[in-house]
């Protein structure tokens, strides 16, 4: 069950980070002069989403 739980967690993080990336690209193309701010916030948000997935992965590792 451990690999399945990890896989599901990664799917969630993948969707989340993908949406962050796509929206950031859109935002940069709309407003290229704000690229620095957008990039920093994109990485910050992606890191937060990744954190949730990592907790799920560790929990499945402990439970499995």
């Amino acid at each position: 069950m451990t690999p399945i739980g990890m896989g599901i967690a990664v799917v969630g993080a993948g969707i989340g980070i993908g949406m962050i990336g796509s929206k950031a690209m859109e935002a940069i193309s709309r407003q290229p002069e704000a690229v620095g701010d957008i990039r920093a916030n994109m990485i910050l948000t992606a890191a937060l989403v990744e954190g949730a997935a990592l907790i799920a992965i560790i929990l499945s590792l402990i439970a499995g």
């Binding site: 920093a40 890191a47 954190g51 990592l54 907790i55 992965i57 560790i58």
Partner: protein, 438 residues
């Protein structure tokens, strides 16, 4: 054109190298060719040579890429440069037995990190010191033979675990690993001895620390000597990175008090970056310090202390008793969640860095292992997979270079944003809350 020829020669040499590993197999006693000598010099315990000690035939598990990968990312009691194992000091403590100190060179480790000798009941298995708890095992320095280690599956607390056994005088002795502070969550826990040794990770940290001390003192000297002039050399390399962290991370995320926290942010950024990059150097230790939960845990604890000790009244008010929210909600949801958040934030910092760096190291080891999984000792498949896995490994290492920077940046960025939330004045937030009430 010359570059293409050069890269072809590189790939060919790698394939020949992989194939020559397979050639050892028939000489060492009839193992299936190619199965035994994976990843050049870091194959985990296998049955070779155990027959002379008389513990009966050992079942052959073949090449295990997972075990090889985990062996590579773990901390070790020897410092390995290629196949050479440099000894490190061992400081071991067993309750009731006292301290034992010696050099890990006395184990006489082979190129796989397996010791040929046992010292006071301690043995070196795959570069890690383990202890034989059985009191009937002789004390002092004992020669245990060329390869006395074999792995057996045992049931412990309902979980299956593989434990290395030592074969000595026709008898099998189980070994235990050193105590870990993970409370049994990752298969560790408190065992019968503690390892305070200077391990590979500690040596790597010292090397990176000395290197960074040299770099920054020379850069600082250059600023004093060349005041007002354009930066050159090392100074020119460090300055844009330093300014990037200062202007893009510290100033916007911490706010007015950024200068007070800048030394802390710079220290963790450059230390993590240095260790990330040092771990990328192939065959030079391959240390995985930033992929070690203990190391990232200490970094996260430092962040936790800095954030919570510098937290002002505004911060604690928002954690414990959020203004402008009904009391029922505060007691039931907000306060417990915010309180847990204090601990979850550094916990995810710890996990994120560790998981990202470890994953990179494991993927590279698995790509190299592909040669031994598909090659199986024949020229054709060995050469084919060598080319494929060289390309994959080089691609992965390029990605890892990027990840080394991104993860050091993310750790610093998140630390800065946590510090920023702890020291900010309430003005901005009051406006938002007023807006939410309309």
């Amino acid at each position: 054109m010359r570059r293409y020829i050069l890269s072809f020669i590189c790939v060919f040499c790698l394939a020949a190298f992989a194939f020559s590993q397979d050639q050892h197999a028939p000489q060492s006693g009839g193992h299936p060719a190619g199965e035994q000598h994976g990843a050049a010099d870091h194959q985990p315990a296998h049955g070779e040579g155990s027959h002379d000690a008389g513990c009966g035939p050992i079942e052959d598990h073949g090449f295990d890429p997972g075990a090889t990968a985990f062996h590579h990312v773990s901390d070790q009691n020897v410092y390995n440069i290629g196949p050479i194992q440099l000894p490190l000091p061992c400081i071991l403590y067993a309750p009731g037995h006292g301290f034992t100190t010696f050099s890990s060179g006395r184990f006489h480790p082979d190129s796989h990190g397996n010791g040929h000798a046992a010292i006071d009941g301690y043995v070196l298995v795959e570069g890690l010191v383990r202890r034989i708890e059985d009191p009937s095992f002789p004390k002092g320095e004992v020669e245990v033979g060329h390869h006395p280690y074999l792995k057996k599956e045992v049931q412990e607390n309902g979980k299956e675990k593989e434990i290395p056994y030592v074969c000595y005088n026709s008898q099998l002795y189980p070994t235990v690993g050193h105590s870990t502070a993970d409370f049994g969550m990752f298969g560790g826990g408190i065992t019968s001895f503690y390892d305070f040794s200077m391990t590979k990770n500690v040596v790597t940290m010292l090397i990176v620390f000395l290197f960074l001390a040299f770099v920054f003192s020379s850069v600082a000297k250059a600023y004093a000597k060349r005041d007002g002039m354009a930066p050159t050399g090392l100074q020119g390399f460090i300055e844009p990175i330093f300014l990037f962290i200062q202007d893009e991370v510290a100033k916007p995320f911490i706010g007015a008090k950024w200068e007070k926290y800048l030394p802390f942010l710079m220290s963790i950024f450059f230390f993590i970056l240095g260790l990330n990059l040092f771990g990328q150097i192939p065959f030079f230790g391959g240390s995985n310090v930033t992929g070690n939960l203990a190391f990232t845990g200490v970094m996260a604890i430092l962040t936790f202390l800095v954030v919570n000790l510098s937290g002002n009244k505004h911060y604690w008010e928002h954690v414990l008793w959020m203004p402008g929210v009904p009391s029922v909600l505060k007691v039931l949801i907000l306060t417990p969640v915010e309180f847990l958040g204090i601990f979850i934030k550094p916990f995810t910092l710890m996990l994120r860095l560790c998981a990202n760096i470890t994953a990179g190291h494991i993927v590279i080891t698995i790509f190299i292992s592909l040669i031994f999984i598909f090659g199986k000792g024949q020229w054709g498949p060995s050469l084919g997979t060598s080319i494929g896995s060289t390309v994959l490994t080089m691609f992965m290492m390029a990605i890892e270079l990027l990840v080394a920077f991104i993860q050091a940046f993310v750790f610093t960025l998140l630390t800065a944003s946590y510090i920023g939330s702890a020291v900010e004045d309430g003005h901005g937030h009051d406006h938002e809350e007023a807006g939410a009430h309309h």
